[in-house]
Point group: C2
Chain length 252, copies 2
């Protein structure tokens, strides 16, 4: 097998939990994972949020793991009755749930003779899984095929991602650069479209904001090639000046 | 047609935008919409995040609008080339995009003789749509069938939701009540499961946290019936005391 340097590697995230869908908890894993994946040269292409429901989790897992190179899940791997992620993913994959011997050993080392049935739930994995180290609270994450099962608590998930750093195959990281201006984005719309069209391989996103009683916009250029990125930034700044908008090289 | 008071009304949210998937922007619409829907007696059941891509938006719109009573979208309705939500949704519905006469009139009143082609993009809707008032920046939201097309900027979306307050048919709102304790959630796991099982119609979610060097957990009870909610809270507090865990009536 040869590696194609232009191949684009994609990932999806499945966020599992009633607490997100009720609005009680603000998700903080999406943005962190997106940036972490970017560094690995993997693009986050789709995210779904579903309830603590076997069928909803299973359907989403099967749709996303087959459509992308990697699927990450967050939430539902604790010791309580509402933690059903492992069961739902095992069912979706058509494999049984087992007590993983290494996970049992990790928990036994941590809890000693207080390793109750509830705590032992955190050693359950789909059959055929390997473990992801959890430096924060010991109960490990789980890798099964291209599915990475992580915690819902952000500090725990971030520790698990640190353990995976550099371990996944990826492509060229997407880099970004921002040009900004105190302008209504509509005044720059035709210019943005023309500059993007003249530079295949680069995308320009326009993100308006309102601050200090004024209107501004950040124009975010994205490309995998650093030289192309610099060319687009220069071309965009020139084109904005040509229509009387004074740009800033960087984010406002 | 008779109204079934026990009918559950469900909604989905589709968040559209490369800036969310790249991790550049932290979404702030999910939690707000979830709470707003809760007040209307509608349950947010699924959320997806997709890129600024016609096919990805269209596929998600058709999957979600047919699976739920309501579909809300956020993002991609501005004046720039990367704002393709209206085109993607019209294509998914199989209807043309038109310039909505009322939207054109609103923008003409706001921009006067500065109503450029770029700004007129914000008057485009799928054929057959009605408008949702935008008190913040005028360019309206769009309702077409059971799809509600909103802005990406949270303050604008919140204004649009205020305009929709009380307008949508819903059922009994889900209420919640929290019992908490300074305990590892695993110590309460069997108790939580038993109390939930003894009270059909109520769900208990367990959300651990680590603060001030201590471990705690919030146990969130959800039900549509206020009396049931109070019964479950009382039963849970008694059951926790029975196993030596001192509960707090409320969130920690």
């Amino acid at each position: 097998m040869t590696v194609d340097p232009a191949r684009i590697w994609t990932a999806a995230l499945l966020i599992i939990g009633d607490e997100i869908l009720s609005g009680r908890t603000q998700d903080a894993n999406l943005a962190y994972l997106a940036k972490w994946l970017g560094v690995q040269g993997i693009r986050l292409r789709e995210v779904r949020v579903v309830a603590d429901d076997m069928a909803a989790i299973g359907d989403a897992v099967n749709a996303l793991r087959t459509a992308h190179d990697y699927l990450f899940t967050t939430g539902g791997i604790g010791p309580t009755h509402d933690d059903i992620t492992v069961d739902a993913i095992a069912a979706a994959l058509g494999v049984p749930v087992i007590i993983h011997p290494d996970a049992r050993a990790i928990l036994a080392g941590y809890y000693g003779d207080k390793l109750t049935d509830a705590r032992l739930r955190m050693a359950r994995t789909p059959e055929g899984a390997s473990l992801i180290e959890n430096p924060r609270t010991k109960a490990p994450g789980i890798r099964v095929g291209n599915v990475f099962i992580m915690a819902g608590v952000p500090s725990i998930t971030q520790g698990m991602l640190a353990a995976l750093d550099g371990q996944l195959q990826g492509g060229a990281p997407v880099q970004s650069r921002t040009v900004a201006a105190w302008t209504q984005e509509s005044a720059a719309a035709a210019t943005l479209a023309a500059v993007e069209k003249a530079h295949p391989g680069a995308q320009i996103g326009s993100y308006p904001f309102w601050r200090e009683g004024r209107t501004g916009a950040n124009f975010v250029i994205r490309a995998t090639d650093a030289e192309l990125l610099a060319d687009v930034a220069a071309a965009l700044m020139t084109a904005l000046r040509d229509i009387g908008i004074e740009p800033v090289d960087g984010e406002l």
